[in-house]
């Protein structure tokens, strides 16, 4: 039998129908749903007299619109946001979905609670009307974002129309230096490939530096596969994965756990499997990085200087100039001289317990710069509770951070957490697009430790100076 990649194996195990031209109906094991990209899909079902084929495999949670202030149970002030969340309440109830409403302690960002509740398991196919579904690839699950028409298709048929993507291997060899994290890996990779470098591919991340990451770190890496254009990111499951999954509320137990485990251990790329594209980076060569522009590919080590548009070629010259103008930056400025006024720690990229621990480690016993607006938005109610138990919440509050409830918050600013025009933010989220965190807002992406360090100094700073 021809050697297979991990992607090949998961794909082959889920083809429910294949047409002559290679178009497949791929069976979907878990469908995650949030309030922004689903109302039109449920409406479509109703209009056509269709129902949800597998409600027990369909998990819904409101996350994008929900306020994260402590008084949120009073209700959502913005009428459109409120209607959208109410629509999800109604749809979840009417179609019998698994549902975590806003007043449930397990509510949180859809990509954080899927793994947390044990819905995400190795070898599964997982979709959600959200591009950061790539996160779940950290478990060796084939997970990717879909549009609302596809959401409707999955609701109705529990399958997705797909053609197979190509295989790409991204290997990170060796060890990471102190102060360098999963976020730096994933940004550094996008810096290498560009935002379109992964288009048409499923990326498998491997190598010693990836193996050494916790599940939280692996989720951070896979989360941003989409930012490199890839359909999905994958990491082969191993003991770290199995230990994370064991005992989760929806993970199998007893004999079925043993059966599952035996299968999961077969989920790795065979030695001679073919990859259409390979990228190798040395872990030792990766520095703490930040973005300077308005595309996630605009990545540089914190020790670098703001580039000039002329440093690029082709269409990137115009795009880089536009980025510099938008970001209010001058070529040649040292990145660590850039002053910020806002810090956002959270999102599906970096809103997990390990991220909060890393930020708190830097903040312990220190105060943020005067006038700085800084907030921590835990990725789920359970992450929040855990952080309170560990004393992290007190560290954040004593340092001057706002300690919020769970949601997507300022990652995309659909709720009241937004930047004003010209405000500059050190953010642990995933997109630095124009207007992403609020019209005219300026975003620099980085790791939680780097964002915490920036909150202390009021400038982008090399976290290695503070550890």
């Amino acid at each position: 039998m021809a050697p297979k990649t991990l992607y090949d194996k998961i794909w082959d195990a889920h083809v429910a129908h294949e047409a002559e031209d290679g178009t497949c109906l791929l069976y979907i094991d878990r469908h995650l749903v949030h309030e922004v990209t689903s109302p039109q899909a449920f409406e479509g079902l109703r209009m056509n007299g269709r129902t949800v084929r597998a409600p027990e495999k369909t998990i819904a949670v409101p996350d994008h619109n929900v306020p994260t202030t402590l008084d949120r149970l009073k209700g959502i002030e913005n009428e459109e946001s409120r209607i959208q969340v109410e629509a999800l309440d109604t749809n979840a109830r009417e179609f019998g979905l698994v549902y975590y409403p806003v007043d449930d302690v397990r509510q949180g960002i859809v990509h954080i609670i899927g793994p947390e509740q044990g819905w995400t398991l190795p070898g599964m196919t997982i979709v959600c009307g959200d591009s950061h579904t790539a996160t779940h690839g950290a478990f060796g699950a084939l997970a990717h974002g879909i549009g609302t028409s596809e959401v409707e298709h999955v609701l109705a048929t529990q399958t997705l129309i797909q053609k197979k993507s190509k295989n790409m291997k991204v290997e990170i060899t060796g060890k990471l230096s102190p102060g360098v994290t999963a976020k730096d890996i994933t940004l550094a990779v996008i810096g290498e490939t560009g935002t379109a470098g992964g288009t048409g591919y499923v990326i498998e991340y491997c190598g010693e530096a990836i193996r050494s990451l916790s599940m939280e770190g692996r989720m951070t890496v896979c989360n941003m596969a989409i930012e490199g254009g890839a359909r999905a990111g994958l990491i082969a499951p191993d003991q770290t994965t199995f230990d994370y999954c064991k005992g989760r509320p929806n993970a199998p137990t007893g004999k079925i756990w043993e059966e599952a485990l035996a299968y999961w251990k077969t989920l790795h790329s065979d030695d001679d499997a073919h990859f259409d594209k390979v990228l190798t980076l040395k872990g030792e060569d990766i520095a703490p990085v930040v973005t300077w522009g308005t595309s996630p590919e605009d990545v540089l080590p914190i020790t670098a200087k703001v580039p000039a548009a002329q440093d690029f070629s082709g269409g990137k010259i115009e795009a880089a100039q536009r980025s510099l103008d938008y970001m209010g930056l001058t070529a040649g400025t040292a990145l660590c001289d850039i002053e910020i006024d806002t810090v956002f720690i959270g999102s599906c990229t970096n809103g997990r317990i390990e991220d909060l621990r890393a930020a708190a480690e830097i903040l312990k016993g220190r105060k943020i710069k005067e006038g700085m607006r800084a907030m921590v938005v835990p990725g789920s109610g359970l992450v929040r509770a855990q952080a309170e138990k560990e004393g992290l919440a007190d560290i954040f509050k004593e340092a001057g951070f706002e300690w919020r409830l769970a949601g997507c918050s300022m990652c995309l600013a659909m709720n009241p957490d937004q930047l004003q025009p010209g405000e500059r933010c050190a953010a642990t989220s995933n997109r630095n697009f124009e207007g992403r965190q609020g019209r005219g807002g300026r975003t620099h992406l980085m790791s939680p430790a780097m964002a915490a360090a920036a909150a202390l100094t009021g400038k982008l700073v090399d976290v290695r100076e503070m550890i």
Binding site: D21, L25, I83, M124, I146, T148, T199, G315, L412, G435
Partner: protein, 201 residues
């Protein structure tokens, strides 16, 4: 879904690369629970000034391009968020075809579900089409899906590739779900087999 057969229309040039879906439709417009009515908000931050007036520099605000039905755009169009509101907004504005050197995966899929044809051309072809689009409203481009070719206002013909299944659905305005429902027996059989093979799923 509206059929797409042959489109003769004004094409607007947008040479910027990496036009993301946040640019095509910013988040404040994602709060709708409908698919319609997003055209007025398409490219909102590039298109309108802070006071709500039209930005005269933005291409779709030029008199010549207000009736454009085709976009000729820079590389990696539609990157970022999976929001189908992006093609909904384009469609509602009147865009039925986007031409670029590459598209982000999810956006590309979303177009076909909404009767929009995304066409991938080479860098060289894109430059020629961009020049043709720059001629304004006197020029008309013809996008012929049946014959898989674009004809510029000068009569230059550029051929393109498209997945045959997607072409078939677009030309006939077919609903994917209806087609997949015809294969329900395969899905039933697969699900039964999966329940035995992987009871934890």
């Amino acid at each position: 879904m509206e059929k797409f057969e042959k489109l003769t229309a004004i094409a607007a040039p947008m040479p910027l690369i990496n036009i993301d879906t946040d640019m095509i439709i910013p988040k404040q417009f994602l709060k709708t629970i409908k698919r319609s009515g997003l055209g007025v908000s398409a490219f909102h931050e590039m298109r309108y000034n802070l006071d709500g007036s039209e930005n005269p520099d933005f291409v779709l605000n030029h008199e010549a391009y207000k009736g454009a039905n085709i976009l000729v755009a820079g590389d990696n169009f539609g990157c970022g968020s999976s929001r189908e509101h992006a093609p909904w907004a384009l469609l509602d504005f009147g865009i039925r075809c986007v031409i670029s050197t590459s598209f982000a995966d999810i956006f590309y899929n979303n177009c076909f579900k909404n009767g929009i044809l995304p066409v991938v051309v080479t860098e060289d072809e894109l430059q020629r089409l961009m020049k043709d689009a720059e001629k304004g409203s006197n020029a008309r481009m013809v996008v012929d899906l049946e014959n898989q070719q674009i004809e510029t206002s000068d009569g230059e013909v550029i051929a393109f590739d498209v997945d045959q299944h997607r072409k078939h659905c677009l030309i006939n305005g077919l609903d994917d779900i209806g087609l997949s429902m015809e294969k329900i027996a395969s899905i039933d059989a697969f699900e039964t087999q999966m329940a035995q093979r992987a009871p934890w799923v």
